[in-house]
């Protein structure tokens, strides 16, 4: 297993390099020139050329790539095209709210999906099963922005029991309950999409396990059905679910863009939309890059965790 983990990490390295190359090429394609930031508008063509030479923009592409990669390794993501602040600083400010939103949504989604998936599997082809299947398809099919607008209309406009957006009520920063109140709607929207697909996975994974012989043995020795399903079956059914967590991360990040925009949640998703509006490609690429790193590492972690969780699997 140790060998497998080492090999898995070694495989991740070329992928990581690929991510940086792809990322670099997109910045390179982007309109707007870093020189424009450093130079005043009435500079002559000669001045621009001198500045370009000094910034190394006339060097071959691969040298520019390695220089950019070196900077990133030092934590230098460059300077924002619009605010002239260091990009790293802008991003670290926004990462907290997004992590909060994403982690709460993930937990809520699983708390909804796992029980529903179990019930749906134990009562296969019953009305409950059809109902939950329809519900899960609804969760996957409803566009997050439409669901967002819908709950906002019901709870913030008509019933007026929830705030329309933001992370805190103005003038009341830092209150835990206040933030929790602001979390309800965005978390609902984000977790719906994940729960929808998760129910399907839990259901089919449970169905596979429920047909196994050792469960018949467990029933034969007189265990209650509740113990059989929720202890013997569920444990093994959840193992394949671990890999799904890794697959959910990119969906969460993408969903966060739309959800944060609707609910004015001050995280990376909202920053993405703002940066697209102001064509701030240095910020955009840093967000994309860090998101890709997060995805890569969460995949790596789930793969490793999977080998630990399931002793039956042998890797050679």
């Amino acid at each position: 297993m140790f060998q497998y983990i080492v090999r898995r990490i070694l495989i991740a390295i070329p992928v990581l390099l690929g991510v940086t190359i792809f990322n670099f090429l997109i910045i390179y394609m982007a309109p707007g020139n870093p020189v424009d930031m450093y130079i005043n508008p009435d500079a002559t063509e000669e001045d621009i050329q001198i500045k370009k030479e000094a910034l190394g923009l006339n060097d071959p592409l691969y040298i520019q790539y390695f220089r950019w990669l070196g900077n990133i390794l030092h934590g230098d993501f460059g300077i924002s095209y619009t605010t002239y602040e260091p990009v790293l600083h802008i991003i670290t400010e926004r990462i907290g709210p997004t992590l909060l939103l994403m982690s709460v949504s993930l937990v809520v989604a699983y708390l909804i999906a796992i029980p529903i998936g179990i019930i749906s599997a134990t009562k296969q082809y019953s009305w409950t099963d059809y109902f939950t299947t329809t519900f899960s398809f609804l969760g996957v099919s409803i566009p997050p922005f439409f669901l967002g607008l819908g709950v906002m209309y019901v709870f913030a406009v008509v019933l007026q029991i929830l705030p329309t957006g933001g992370m805190n009520t103005l003038g009341n920063e830092g209150g835990f309950l206040d933030t929790l109140f602001h979390l309800i709607m965005p978390v609902f929207v984000l977790s719906m999409g994940i729960a929808g697909s998760m129910v399907r996975y839990v259901r089919s994974s449970m169905l596979e396990v429920l047909g196994q012989d050792y469960l018949r043995t467990a029933r034969a020795k007189g265990l209650r059905e509740f113990v059989v399903t929720n202890k013997h079956a569920l444990r093994n059914a959840l193992i394949p679910i671990i890999t799904i967590i890794g697959m959910d991360i990119p969906i969460l990040i993408g969903g966060a863009v739309v959800t944060e925009q609707i609910f004015q949640w001050p995280g990376l998703g909202q920053l993405t939309i703002q940066s697209i509006g102001s064509r701030d490609y240095s910020v955009l690429m840093a967000i994309n890059f860090s998101a890709a790193i997060v995805v890569l590492f969460s995949n790596l972690l789930t793969d490793i965790f999977y080998t630990v969780a399931d002793p039956r699997i042998k890797y050679n």
Partner: protein
Amino acid sequence: MSMSNMKVEVDVPLSNHPSLEPANELGKEESYFRLIRKRYFKHKLAVVGLFVFLIIVLMALFAPVIAPGDPYDVNNQFEAKPSIEHLLGTDSVGRDVLSRLIYASRVSLAVGLGAVAIYVTIGTVLGAIAGYYGKWVDAVIMRLTDVFMSFPYLMVILVLVSILGPSLLNIIVVIGLLGWPAIARIVRGSVLSIKEMDYVKAGVALGFPVHRIVFKHILPNCLGPILVNATFGIASSIILEASLSFLGMGVQPPTASWGNMLTEAQSLTILASQPWLWLPPGLMILLAVLSINFMGDGLRDAMDPKRVR
């Protein structure tokens, strides 16, 4: 399988030979598709999905006939409530919402079908190459899919579309160029297992060119999973386009898209006081995506090789 080059012994009359009844033999050939069709139509939600999807396709094809008015025609009634004249009211510029809703189905279907056609082609070719040649070719292509899978889909698409300029064609191309990894993995997996089968080896031994073995002998056997994945892909591409257009990075007004018809509802006043502007397009996206997802589920069930009936 063709019957024409089979040799039948002369002393037994063909009509008396039960096992060689051509109708029986051909019947078996056809029955796989018949079986799939039979299984598909047992899945009630999938049938409803197909029905709704066909209605949307007809709506897109015959938009000029069905729509009560011109989707671009600016009226002097702004933000009018639904009335007999404008069944779903008018938007902030005074355009008929119902007409725009009908025309917008064209955008969604174009993105869904166009983007998926592009990425299924790319994914199938890359997956087949990786699976068939194996070794370093496989390793390179699979690492490439890992790279593409590491980027959060919506974010990269947003950035690329904003660089290339938001337009219908660019959205189709960008989704098409980024969506292939899942298909590539599926095809590679199928090719890996199928290429070890004797009939493929027979093809190699007969000296058939590689493209014939891959496209004629191997790929038809991975059609099921590709088709299922493509169906779900159409649904998610429609959501993607709607999300991009909603965020202002997709199809640009005056062209109507279900997504950009919802953009205005980001303002609280419109959300609160003019539900006819955002409710119908949102429901249309939901209906289209839901029906396609049910179709995908029906196809998956029908083509499941583990299924007994």
